[in-house]
Symmetry: C2
Subunit: 394 residues, 2 copies
């Protein structure tokens, strides 16, 4: 009998978002006509910007014309988009060549697929609280997971201790919004080079960094080219959550056991894909145009303002939190030593605000709570007003 991948049996049930959905559904059934203010979702609320829409329409039109029709695309990505992404780095004086850029269907797809490059008998270090899929993808592969908890004591910025084969870093962080400084990231890069580890750097939220002293790419750090892969996405940068597009940087000199991870990834993509949609790649290229960059900044500004509105409410109540600055997430300590789900229920029942319990991102997230700045501005303002009033009362 064929044996399934038995590691699936080791996966914990994904209760977090399911439980949130169940609880909000029940609340609405019991309180018909009530409207919930949703600050829980990681999804964006603003539509694609006009430059992207125009490019997508043009690309669709190309697919309707024999002379302009595009069939199979090169598996590592369309040369025009690989070039645009590399330029996006080079404009910031980060030396990335076009062929170090791989176009993907998005960061979550790539974070799952990239494990193909490594022996599954290795270990993976995951900073927690963490995006749950990091853990699950490694459980499916049967990799040993080294959970590295973080806490208020280190401002949710853990530093290296136990060596690991693969190291997941996410900065700005989901869920905590914490951002590595260059000095902190340098310690991780040196640690990875010393132990010949590979860092998977999830830069999905890089566009939220406003402080020019903070690194938006791990390749701003000396030594990263021999130890890091950067995985990025247009989901949060340009509202592509439902449109799908991302990119991955694998330096040509990243080698282990004399094998080029860059060349292995080309081979993986040519074997396991037939390239990314021409239409989506044209839409993605528009994000990197001058007009596109200006327009996405307008959208990012709305989200950044949402974060400010939430932070103001927390500041008034003297609540400790990370994120909000240079990050779309705000990670707050629950008031009165409340646990995460009790605070969730309180917000839902008392002020009809939905957020995300921190315990869903790992046990060290207990007694913390995540707000997202991706919501509707009016709802976010109203939620913040109610939150400020509630926190004074609790």
């Amino acid at each position: 009998m064929i044996k399934p991948n038995m590691h699936y049996a080791e996966l914990k049930d994904a209760y977090l978002f399911y439980n949130i959905a169940q609880k909000t559904k029940r609340y609405l059934e019991e309180h018909p006509g009530q409207r919930l203010l949703r600050l829980g979702i990681g999804d964006v609320s603003l539509p694609l910007c006009p430059a992207v829409i125009k490019a997508l329409h043009e690309a669709v039109e190309d697919q309707s014309q024999q002379e302009r029709f595009h069939g199979y695309m090169p598996e590592p990505g369309a040369p025009f988009l690989r070039h645009d992404v590399a330029e996006y780095y080079r404009k910031r004086n980060i030396d990335i060549t076009d062929d170090e850029v791989f176009i993907s269907s998005g960061a979550s797809d790539e974070l799952g697929d990239i494990l193909d490059l490594f022996d599954s008998n290795g270990s993976s270090l995951i900073m927690e609280p963490a995006y749950p899929a990091y853990v699950d993808a490694n459980v499916i592969e049967g990799r040993r997971i080294i959970h590295v908890p973080s806490s208020r004591e280190n401002s949710f910025i853990p530093m290296p201790d136990e060596p690991a084969d693969l190291i997941y870093l996410c900065s700005p962080n989901n869920p905590t919004g914490a951002v590595f400084t260059k000095e902190q990231l340098k310690v991780w890069v040196d640690f990875a080079n010393e132990h010949d580890s590979v860092i998977l750097f999830d830069a999905a939220y890089e566009a939220f960094i406003e402080d020019p002293s903070l690194p938006r790419s791990i390749f701003e750090i000396d030594g990263a080219r021999t130890c890091a892969i950067e995985i990025c996405s247009l989901s949060k940068t340009a509202g592509f959550t439902g449109t799908r597009l991302g990119y991955t940087i694998i330096p040509t000199q990243l080698e282990r056991y004399d094998m080029s991870l860059h060349d292995m990834w080309i081979r993986n993509r040519t074997t396991k894909t037939n390239g990314i949609s021409y239409i989506l790649q044209k839409g993605g290229a528009a994000v990197f145009s001058e007009e596109g960059q200006r327009q996405i900044q307008e959208n990012l500004h709305v989200y950044k303002n949402n974060a400010k509105v939430i932070m103001k409410a927390l500041d008034e109540a003297d609540i400790w939190y990370t994120g909000g600055k240079n990050a779309p997430y705000i990670w707050m300590e629950c008031p009165n030593n409340m646990d995460s789900w009790t605070f969730f229920d309180t917000l839902l029942n008392e002020i009809q605000v939905v957020g995300t319990p921190g315990s869903g991102f790992g046990s060290c997230g207990e007694k913390y709570f995540r707000f997202s700045s991706f919501g509707n501005p009016e709802d976010t303002q109203e939620a913040a007003t109610r939150l400020a009033t509630l926190l004074k009362r609790l």
Copy 2:
């Protein structure tokens, strides 16, 4: 030091299409101004049909409007498209439920990813000649490959012999164009059930089947629901090679070791993807509309006619071949016992026609040659005329 997946070192270099590209490039350099007639590519040449273009434009427009904007899509696929695909089966009296349909980025992506469901210590049976990615994806996983050669003696339709955990079947076949009858496929299904194997049925070319007695889905065969996964694509059916979209059918009762492969795949997709592009799924849904079905048949008719034109030339020269009927590929025996690359060179140099050497699909493809019907009709006609003349002369 982190250990890469060392199986990559066992991959053979992918010479086939590279060599074709090099040889044609050299020919054109030596013969400036010559035009080549390309019957080698597996890519389509006709643009997307109007119904799909209209749906894509509308979906792009949705992404521009706050009220109609779509963020993250459900990971197994948009309910509207899962329903349309299931209906496509149900209209042919194949009992597939909506939730047995998974939307994918295409068949090649899914054929690579689906291996995640199985223990990598198992064996994979691959009928040869075969699509090279079947072999490579299994080499990357370190699975034991059982190569099952086919030949003119069995009309390139091999029947089961040695048991295997995973069984790859492709019908209509790439590269041979051979199509299983229901009776032949039933033997494979019974064999898989007897040995508790799982069949991966690649149905990418099902839309080319005209003979109503031939199975277009493995789920037309009794017993398939307990042993088969069907992987399909809109690439050849509707010209989506560069637009990307596919679907996979996993029956709810497909279980091994008491684990539901259907439920495991939901968990895989929610972990390793964030769903497929809303825009592409809307375009895909248009393929299944009444108008879309009529329009894609017009395109398929062009390709089917190309196949007839090539077959006529081969028939006149009394050349043995499979495919062409109910399949977009024609798999011919090279004349005069020529080997595949010699025939390739002869066609290129003598009549400026580019095809695909059969030896590139496995050693049992030596002395065979593949023509594709996806080319331009005028070029195909001209190539067939020159081919008929050449074959008389050889």
